[in-house]
Symmetry: C2
Subunit: 907 residues, 2 copies
């Protein structure tokens, strides 16, 4: 088993060499200036975990390859005369920025230091030495970096200087001494001086970091399974020094602007610095454009390299470079993490430049990214003034309560509270706080600082380098511009401008960029799966059209009853035991519902509108037993209090006078009546209580019990249709029955709809076309698909309920009680309520469609559960033979793109 590969062998095997290693090999192959080095494979890492230690044969191979490098570099590892220093970096198959360990300048000890001094200068050498010791101690020996930072800060304070680069050589010697002391004290041993021992320890440390908590958390959160990445590679590379003087520099480049996608070299650099200085965001670097003046030769070389990289990778690259004494080295390249809107723009641009095909361009944009683009932005019309401004590091608008601590952000975020994480700078250890925060604000760092990179990759709003923001951790306060803000108060960030506002600021839907429109047009060209929207109100319908829905796949009629003035009538309607009274109350609701339908028909014009008749159990419209019991208890208590006033002893007459006022508030009879009414409602509500509401009296079962409800609803539909037909609109009505389990139910409802339809036609003299269909959300409906298709012209899978019925999982119970454990123990890979279960629910859908189409060849089949907007589920829908999916308006663009992806993948 070969465990070490030299860079000069070109390879793209990321699984074996890791992303970074494969990149270094490829770059070497296409002739980029990569310092000599080699990769230790992920296989070696797995071997390490099997044996629990570094095997001798690995170190033998490492030594052999070091010899080759020594020859190329003209330096010898551990040789005091002309020592070779190396960097030891992790490189997993999948990029996990900042998650794993790196050790630079390895190979230094008191002896080799002398050689380094001889070939550079004393100050530089000592600076490198102190960096190495602190980094090694922190990464490999696990000593808290605080001890080293304190020494550095102390020195700077004593010397009254600001930058590390101003520390003089004698102070650096003292620092090295103190660092070694810290190491001895904390580990009880001398700092390891044997370079090979250093190397072996560093390699093991990188291996170990693969199973470190933050790494494991990251992989879990991003769904990086063992199949995708199993262990990390280690890259050992000749050190080049960006801190070797003012003709040296280190930097990060992007082949295009990762924030906007603009086709230009983008990046930042720092003169006389090592890479860690840039990434950590400790000093604010300069934009790369300044290099044009400061280092013109290097700059033009970078421009050339930018083209070479994109031609090779056909993907925007994020690369690290170092200039050592006017010579450029490329240390790493990887696909750039970009802002979703930048992703979209570069996709369109790269297709137009002929770099990639249209299908490649589409596949580059992940459907989930669009969700971020749907993020709302600050309403420009509000006119609210920002109080400070930082660097716009990741776009979007976010409001939330200030927290300073990532643990707290996680804790509060989990409970559903909206929080903004405010930090001076962020570190990989903070990442759990990112997941639960609405946005991130840092006072230091630029667009490539840790906070910026991670936030962008998550699509979180982020503002960095806000120098006008000063955190006072002790006082739990932050000064933003001139305003003092306390922990827990609300601020709003605009990640597109860098603006910071006090309080919550109104937001609006974002506009689509022309490139996004273009991508979605391409998606529409390619996809065969239709995309409709699930709506509750006319407002939703407007949004659905805006986001490109091809109609309404599910118009929920019950939510129309939830407006306060309607709810009261609805409740009365439910509580009456008298059919005439019920019909009368329904007649009051009819014009309201009709009005909604009219608006929706006008908005959707000639696009289909699928209207689902009343679905939820009636008790959902009523107060709960608990609420009513409390109300009655309260009223009774209140009454008792009033009564007590009557019986107040005479010697408390003053109190009596005072309380008489209270007594006048309400007379007891009124309260008695209130209590009696509430008790009546309580009795009825108790009658409606169900043991398993999911499987109870709902959907068409209500429709059959109280036929007048569905009759009112379809009358409202048809009367609304007549009105808009008169206006010239041609509504495409589809009426859909929920919770159907037998053909008889469907027949029963259909007969009544036909009657109402004929009646309205007769009264108005206007012909109203419509289609009749059924939800498929009960398993028995699947089994009876052939028979149902005789009556229904279309099927619409309610995948939420169907998933519950197929698994016999109640969603809320399952997610609270055992689904997390099931995922943890790998009993189930995913949450089937989030990602459609292809093996169970999917199979059921397939037989349903097959049986249904056997009866009715042109049966139209849709999906209107939440899965209809989830990319992996959409792919499954296409496989099962569904004609269209329907999802919330905001997810319509996601679904359009996902449908195109599914098409390309399965063509």
């Amino acid at each position: 088993m070969k465990m070490v590969y030299l860079f000069h062998k070109g390879s793209d095997d990321k699984k074996l060499l890791g992303g970074k290693g494969a990149g270094l090999c490829s770059m070497t192959e296409i002739g980029l200036p990569v310092p000599p080095g080699f990769v230790i494979t992920t296989e070696a890492c797995r071997e390490y975990y099997k044996k629990k230690r570094i095997m001798k044969n690995l170190m033998d191979e490492v030594k052999k390859n070091l010899k080759v490098i020594e020859k190329k570099a003209g330096k010898i590892f551990g040789n005091p005369a002309n020592p070779l220093l190396v960097s030891v970096r992790s490189g997993a198959p999948v990029s996990m920025p900042g998650m794993m360990d790196t050790v630079l300048n390895l190979g230094l000890n008191d002896e080799t230091l002398k050689g380094l001094i001889r070939h550079t200068d004393e100050r530089f050498a000592y600076d490198v030495y102190r960096r190495f010791i602190s980094m090694f101690c922190k990464i490999v020996l696990n000593i808290d970096e605080k001890f080293f930072d304190d020494v550095l800060e102390e020195t700077k304070k004593k010397m009254k200087i600001r930058y590390d680069s101003e520390i003089d050589v004698n102070s650096l010697k003292d620092i090295v001494h103190e660092y070694k002391e810290i190491c001895r004290k904390k580990t009880g041993k001398e700092f390891p001086s044997d370079p090979y021992h250093q190397l072996s320890l560093a390699i093991e440390s990188v291996f170990r970091s693969w199973m470190g908590k933050r790494c494991v958390d990251y992989r879990k959160e991003f769904g990086i399974t063992q199949e995708i990445a199993d262990g990390t590679a280690v890259d050992v590379c000749t050190m080049v020094f960006g801190n070797a003087g003012n003709d040296s520099a280190t930097g990060v480049g992007f082949t295009r602007d990762p924030g906007t996608g603009e086709n230009m070299l983008y990046g930042e650099y720092m003169v006389n610095a090592q890479g860690e200085d840039v990434v950590a965001g400790i000093r604010t670097p300069k934009p790369i454009s300044e290099m044009k003046k400061e280092m013109p030769k290097i700059y033009s070389e970078l421009l050339r390299i930018r083209k070479m990289l994109e031609r090779h990778y056909k993907e925007v690259q994020d690369f690290e470079f170092t200039v050592e004494k006017n010579k450029l080295y490329i240390l790493q390249t990887r696909n750039a993490k970009m802002n979703p809107s930048a992703f979209v723009k570069t996709s369109v641009d790269m297709f137009r430049e002929g770099l990639i095909t249209k299908e490649e361009a589409l596949l580059r944009v992940k459907p989930e990214m669009l969700e971020t683009l749907m993020h709302r932005r600050i309403n420009p019309k509000t006119g609210v003034k920002p109080v400070a401004k930082g660097i716009p590091a990741s776009p979007g608008a976010a409001s939330g309560r200030i927290v300073f601590d990532p643990d707290e952000a996680e804790r509060k975020g989990r409970t559903g509270e909206r929080v903004i994480l405010v930090r001076e700078e962020t570190k990989p250890d903070d990442i759990h706080g990112f997941f639960r925060a609405q946005g991130i604000l840092t006072t230091r760092g630029g667009k490539t600082s840790h906070a910026a990179v991670v936030a962008r990759s998550m699509g979180k709003t982020c503002v960095t380098g806000a120098e006008d923001v000063v955190i006072d951790q002790k006082a739990k306060m932050v000064r933003i511009g001139k305003t003092m803000v306390r922990k827990g108060e609300i601020i709003t960030l605009d990640g597109s401008t860098g603006n910071i506002y006090i309080g919550e600021v109104e937001t609006v839907d974002s506009e689509f960029s022309p490139e996004l429109e273009e991508i979605l047009r391409w998606a529409d060209e390619i996809r065969t799966l239709g995309v409709r929207a699930n709506i509750n109100t006319p407002e939703d319908a407007v949004r659905a059209r805006k986001f490109g829905a091809e109609g309404v796949g599910l118009c929920r009629t019950e939510r129309m009853f939830n407006q306060p003035e309607r709810l009261i009538i609805m409740q009365e309607m439910i509580l009456t035991e008298n059919r005439e009274e019920r019909t009368e109350l329904l007649n009051k609701l009819l014009p309201m519902q009709k009005d909604d339908f009219k608006k929706i028909f006008r908005i959707m014009k000639n696009l289909p509108v699928t209207i689902r008749l009343l679905d939820p159990p009636l008790h959902e419209f009523l107060p709960t037993v608990e609420e009513l019991t409390h109300e009655i208890e309260y009223l009774t208590h209140f009454k008792d209090t009033l009564q007590a006033v009557d019986h107040l002893p005479k010697h408390l007459s003053l109190l009596t006078r005072e309380l008489k006022g209270l007594k006048k508030i309400k007379d007891k009879k009124y309260i008695d009546k209130l209590i009696a009414d509430k008790e009546d409602v309580l009795r009825k509500v108790k009658n409606l209580v169900e043991v398993n509401p999911m499987l109870g009296h709902r959907g068409v079962r209500i429709g059959i019990t109280y036929p007048e409800i569905y009759e009112m609803q379809v009358r409202a539909v048809f009367e609304a249709a007549v009105d808009v037909i008169k206006e010239g609109v041609k509504p495409k009505i589809e009426i859909m029955v929920p919770q159907v389990c037998t053909a008889q139910e469907l027949k029963w409802v259909k007969e009544r709809i036909i009657k109402v339809n004929k009646d309205v036609e007769k009264k108005t003299g206007i012909k109203i076309g419509y289609r009749f269909g059924t939800m498929i959300e009960v398993v028995r409906a699947c089994m009876r698909a052939g028979r149902l298709a005789e009556i229904a012209e279309f099927f619409s899978f309610g995948t939420n309920d169907l998933t519950q019925a197929t698994f016999s999982f109640s969603r809320e119970d399952a997610e609270n009680k055992f689904l997390p454990l099931y995922n943890e123990r790998k009993i189930l890979q995913d949450n089937p309520f989030e990602i459609l279960d292809i093996k169970g629910v999917g199979r059921l859908m397939m037989v349903t469609i097959e049986w249904g189409k056997k009866t009715r060849k042109n049966l139209k089949v849709g999906v209107c559960g939440e899965h209809g907007g989830e990319p992996r589920s959409i792919e499954i829908c296409r496989q099962t033979g569904v004609d269209y999916v329907s999802c919330s308006p905001y997810r319509v663009p996601v679904a359009r793109l996902a449908a195109a992806h599914a098409e390309i993948k399965h063509k």
Copy 2:
């Protein structure tokens, strides 16, 4: 359309001619002495309901056929010289004894009366006349019979006589006069004197009775749908008179004893009486055997007819006959309603006599009948003495509270109360009370009285003609022998002996008759479907064996925890949050469960025992939130009371002294601790509450959350196995996992079972074989059947849960809220929880079995839901390819027979 058929055309078309009409035609054909007559078809009845009146063409046809009869009888309808009288009787396609109307002696008026007198005698003629008027008034004109009865009773009282036959001719004349007066007063019109008008009214009345309430109720209760019987036929037949003197008689005969099945002429007769006198049970008739002496010629003719009837119908017949002046007429025959045990005996006998084949014999016995044979009987060892004795009219033992009113019987019976209906005699109007009563006791009537016939057909315990029982309706008391018993007190009936006991008497399982054993042996020979039992305890296992189960298809392990001393440990186990503690408590439960398994293995010997691991949600073992809340409230209240004692004002010192005692009962600290404990439990119980318990944390989901529970259970199984193996028993263990929805669950559990098995084998050195399988009760398991069959060696359908999941019906909610309406509106034909739904659940089962067997050819498939003991469902199980059904021990014989039926029908 021919609407009238003469008797002389032989036909067996019961749907057209009704049962009685078809019988009369057939009997005429085979040469039995049937009086001339004709049948009006059911088609004419349907026509009547379409037109809402009797059409002229029907009456024309009737008149034409009357002419033929007149010729045969030598009498003329409506002719004063020699009048023909007819009976007008209903005859539905299905026998509905006593449900519909009959009018006898029709054709009489003041004129024809004279002709009748001329050919008979005056007293007889007036007796017939008064019978005709009262019957016609009651049946056709809807006048309450009470008015006529009062007149008759008044006369008898005045004359100081007991029997109607003792009334002299003058009194009869007065009665006729008074009857006509009643008619005039009640209807405002004269009694109709035109015989054709009488006939037309009578026919219409019979037609109308088909849709009368009691008829409709009866058909609903017995599932007689429109497809089975649509309308009634009307039989018009020459009157023959059993009341023409002492050489005349009327009677009912059975070709075999319907109570015991004995192969002998059986029946009752009454000299000088009309048929109505026998059926109504007003006079107690004589056993038919006495006829041998009294009317030897007629008797031997009846013996001959008995043979002829059975040869023709191949079924025991229940026939009516009349002797008019020493000439025998047969008026009706039908299949006899028999006691289930008689059915069984006659089946075996008739096969042995060569009358029917073995398969016909099996099909004659309906599986539901066996359920009645499983009825318990009075334990002869109790030695309790009966207080009175009646005629054993329908066997079985029944205890219940006395009610006198059928309405009350129905009302109380519906609420689940056990009642005995006590009446002097019963009438068709009382039938609703029969359905809900445990047993029926009458003071009059014999074995063929209404009460006896109906009770037998329902398999209800019945004692008739208990002359020592005297009812005092007003006092709501009854004297039984020498004991006065109040309404609401409990009595016990023994329908096999006629014994009546005060209070509840211990009962035991009935022994099978040799004939039943024979039938079941035949069933076992023929059926291919296996029959196992569902058990909870070793006692159930004993019963299962006794009733012929071929093993245990479902041994529920959770019910073993419901014994009080086990439940406490179980609750502690559930409430602890500490795994060690849980394991410790489980270890306490282990020996108890092990002990149960040992007993069961010993009983079942080498028959398979399928053990289902814990299934119900844990909260089912705990008190409810309501219970705990009440307990805490009570304790708090109690504590407050104790505290109040401390603060009692000084001037109430006497009270204080008294209450001090109370205070000593418990100290507050103890109560505080109790309250705190309860609150702790309440908190945990609230955590366990689920929105949809049916779809919640149960079955294997519990097994995976707390692996130690299943581990304990299988350890108990294997340790029990070791113990009985040492005794020489070879247990056939099948371990079954409930609520499985994915293969991973099954794998997860299987691995743990293997581990425990190996561990027990290692510790004991004894090899323990077992098979591993899964319940199929979650739809997803059906979809994954192919994959599950890789892991499971057998499937067992839990059709209860599977039906709930397939329909998305929660059984309790559905049956309370909308299933009755669904059945009423024909949305669903049956309750799918009672009768397996072939179209939905059945189809799902079929694909499951198909997919499962594709993976594992010899996959064993069972059904262990309640449907496993229901005959129609068993037929469906056989069709879907199930290998065996499993049901409660009591239903095992039913299932064995039903399985044989299914086999015969589908061969």
